[in-house]
Amino acid sequence: MRLTLVEAVRDGLATAMAADPRVVVLGLDVGRLGGVFRATDGLLERFGPRRVIDAPLSEAAIVGSSIGLAVSGLVPVVELQFLGFALQAGHQLGPQLARYRYRSRGRYEVPVTIRAPFGAGVRSAEFHFDAIEAMFTQCPGLKVVAPSTPADARGLLLEAIRDPDPVLFLEPVRLYRRGRQEVPEGERTVPFGKVRLAREGSDVTLVAWSAAVELCERAASELVGRGVEASVLDLRSLVPLDVEGLVRCVARTRRCVVVQEGPLTGGFGAEIAATLQEEAFGTLAAPVVRVAAYDLPLPAGVAEPWNVPDAARVVAAAEAVLG
C-alpha cells in the first residue's frame, strides 16, 4: 500500500488496536475530530469510545493516567497534540513514566507510547512545535524514536506499542503529507536501535533523524552537482542509539555532518559528535560539524525559516568538512 506518513501512523494505530484489545488511544481531540492532524481519523467509529478516548485539556493527567491505565492491564497510546506541550506533562513523562519500572524494581511495567508531532516548517502558532527531543533523551527508562518515512513511521510505531518500555514517538509534522511511499502491510515492525542508510555516498555522512533526514537528502542531491557524494544516515531512534551502525557508516566516509532542527547547545547532535570522537576518532579525517537551529527560541511568524537549518546550510557544512 502507498501511504503518506500520517496515513502510515493511522494505519499502524488501527493495526495495533485490531491485533491487541488492550490497546487504547487517548488524547486531545483524538475521537470525534480524529486528531488535529487526523492521525486517529476513523478509529472512534471502528473501535468505540472505550478504546478511543477524548481526554480533558490536561497533559499531566493524560500522561499520568496512562501510567495507571498501564498498571490496570491496558496498553495506552497517548497523543500529545504537540511536542511543545509535553513539558506541561514534563514531570509525568520524564521522572514518572520513564522510571516507573525502575523505581518499582520491575514490579510494574508501563508499556505506554506517547506520540507527539513536532518540528518547524508549518508556520504554526508559538510553542507548539519546538524541537525539544534532546531533553527526553536525558530520561533513562524512556525510549525516544523519531522516524522520517512512512514505512518507518508505521513499523516503528508498531514496535513502540509492542515494546514493554515506555516510548516517546516523535512525528515530523512537516513530512506528514509530503508524499506517498510503499509501506508493508501486516504486523511487521521496524526494530529500535538500527540506523537506516537513506542514501549512500563515499565522501561525507550526513547524520540526522526525523524531518532533518529529508533536509539532508535534499542537500545530498545539491552536493552531487558540486561533485560530492554524500551518505545520509537516519538514526531512527535516539534511545536506543545504534552506536555501531553510526560508527560503521562514518568510518567509511571519514567525514561527518550532524544535522538537528533544535537549538545548537545541548542538542542531540552534540551526543553524536561526542560519540564519534570517542568511538571513531582514528577514522575521522576532519572534525565533526554540527548544523542546528540557532540558540534562540523558535521564532513565530516569518522569522521561523531563518532560524531552522535549510539545505544551503547543510551543503555549506559538508563542503567545510571536505576542506
Binding site: A60, A61, G64, S65, S72, Y100, S104, R105, E278
Partner: protein, 373 residues
C-alpha cells in the same frame, strides 16, 4: 496510657480568610466514648486490628528514629499522630481486590494491605530491591514527588472500570499536595470519567514548615470536590471509627459506579516531617501539646476500655505484641542480603539499550576502562 476526659473535644482549625471552622464528622469523643451512644460501631475485631496497626506504626517510628540518630538508618517519614487516619481508611478497603496509591507516610495502611513490614524497613535502610512490593500486593510505589501519584491512581481506577472490574483505588496525600497542579488535573479527570477512586487527603497541619493557612485560603479542602463534580467530606482524622465509616461509604459509592470522593481527614503531625526536620524552628510546643490531647491511639484505647473491658494490662499487652512484631521486621530486614552494584542496572528497561549493557559491563569490569559509551 492515662485517659483524661476533656471538656472540649475539638481539633480547632480556623481555616481560610473567612475564619470558618470546618465541622468534621466524628464518632468518638477524645476519651474514646461514643458521642452518640446509639451509634453502631464496627465489630470489635476490626477495632482491635485497627489498634494493632496503629501501635505497629508508632513502634516503627520510635525504632526508626532511634536508629537514625545512631546513624544506622536513612530516611523515614513518621506517622506519629496520624495513625487513625491511615489505619481507619485502610481498614475500609479490600486487600484482595482494591489498590493503594501511597504517598510515603502510610506504613500501617501498606502493611494492612499486604506489604511486609520488613520491606518498608528495607526501604528506610536504602535496600530498594528488598523493599520491592511483592507480586500480588496491590500497592503502587511510594511517591516522593508530591501529588505525582494522583494521576496514576485515577488512571488505574479508570482502567479497572474500563475493563468492567469493580475494584477501587485509594490515593493518600496531604494538604500540601492539594496545592499541586497534579492534584487538580487528577481530580478533574477523575470527575469527568467517574473513576472509582477515593482521594484521601490527610491535613496534618504542616507541609514541612508551611502551615495549612499558607497552603490554601479555602475553609475546607473537601469543598473543592464540588468544583470537580463529586462529593467531598471532612472527617476527624484522629477518630478511627469516623475515618473508617466515611471511607467505607466512599469505597461503596466508587464500587457502585458513583465515582470519586474527596475525603479531608483533619489530623496533626505530632512529630518530625522526616529524619532531618526540626519542628522547633517553626512551631511552638503549644500546638503540639493541644494536638496530643486528641491522640488517636489514646482514643482507641479509651474506646476498648469503655466498651470491651480492656484494662491497662490488656492494652499494654497489645503494645508489647506490636513491639515484638516491629523488632522481628527490623531483624529480618537487617539480615537480608544487601543490594549489589550489578543490581543497580536492573529494571531500568525491559529491553535495555546496547549502550547501557556496555556501561554495565564496563562498570562491573576492572577499573580504568575509560569509555563508557
Amino acid at each position: 496510657m492515662g485517659r483524661r476526659r476533656l471538656a472540649e473535644p475539638e481539633l480547632v482549625r480556623r481555616n481560610g480568610r473567612d475564619g470558618l471552622t470546618p465541622r468534621p464528622y466524628r464518632v468518638l469523643g477524645p476519651d474514646g466514648s461514643l458521642i452518640d451512644p446509639g451509634h453502631r460501631p464496627p465489630p470489635l475485631p476490626v477495632v482491635l486490628e485497627g489498634l494493632r496497626l496503629m501501635l505497629l506504626s508508632r513502634c516503627f517510628d520510635r525504632r526508626a528514629l532511634a536508629m537514625n540518630r545512631q546513624g544506622r538508618l536513612g530516611g523515614a517519614a513518621p506517622g506519629l499522630g496520624q495513625e487513625a487516619a491511615v489505619v481507619g481508611s485502610a481498614l475500609a478497603i479490600d486487600p484482595t481486590r482494591d489498590w493503594i496509591a501511597p504517598q510515603y507516610r502510610e506504613l500501617a495502611a501498606l502493611v494492612r494491605h499486604g506489604r511486609p513490614l520488613a520491606s518498608v524497613v528495607a526501604h528506610s535502610l536504602g535496600q530498594t530491591d528488598a523493599a520491592r512490593v511483592p507480586d500480588g500486593v496491590r500497592v503502587l510505589p511510594d511517591q516522593y514527588a508530591i501529588a505525582a501519584h494522583l494521576p496514576h491512581a485515577v488512571g488505574l481506577a479508570w482502567g479497572l472500570a474500563l475493563q468492567d472490574r469493580d475494584d477501587v483505588v485509594i490515593a493518600y496525600f496531604g494538604e500540601g499536595a492539594s496545592s499541586e497542579g497534579d492534584f487538580h488535573e487528577a481530580c478533574n479527570l477523575a470527575g469527568v470519567v467517574r473513576a472509582p477512586v477515593v482521594f484521601f487527603l490527610q491535613d496534618n497541619g504542616w507541609a514541612i514548615s508551611t502551615p495549612r493557612s499558607a497552603q490554601s485560603a479555602a475553609a475546607t479542602l473537601a469543598g473543592r470536590a464540588a468544583g470537580y463534580g463529586f462529593e467531598g467530606v471532612t472527617v476527624d482524622g484522629n477518630d478511627l471509627l469516623a475515618v473508617h465509616e466515611v471511607t467505607a461509604r466512599a469505597v461503596a459509592r466508587a464500587r457502585a459506579g458513583a465515582g470519586p470522593t474527596l475525603i479531608e481527614a483533619l489530623t496533626y503531625r505530632l512529630g518530625v516531617h522526616n529524619m532531618s526536620d526540626d519542628p522547633r524552628r517553626y512551631r511552638d510546643g503549644r500546638s503540639e501539646a493541644d494536638a496530643a490531647r486528641l491522640d488517636p491511639v489514646v482514643r482507641v484505647q479509651g474506646y476498648l476500655h469503655l466498651y470491651a473491658g480492656y484494662d491497662d494490662e490488656g492494652l499494654a499487652a497489645l503494645e508489647r505484641e506490636a513491639e515484638r512484631e516491629v523488632e522481628a521486621a527490623f531483624a529480618r530486614a537487617l539480615a537480608a542480603p544487601p543490594m549489589t552494584p550489578e543490581a543497580m542496572f536492573a529494571h531500568a528497561y525491559a529491553r535495555p539499550p546496547a549502550r547501557l549493557l556496555r556501561q554495565r559491563a564496563a562498570s562491573l569490569g576492572p577499573p580504568g576502562n575509560g569509555s563508557c559509551g
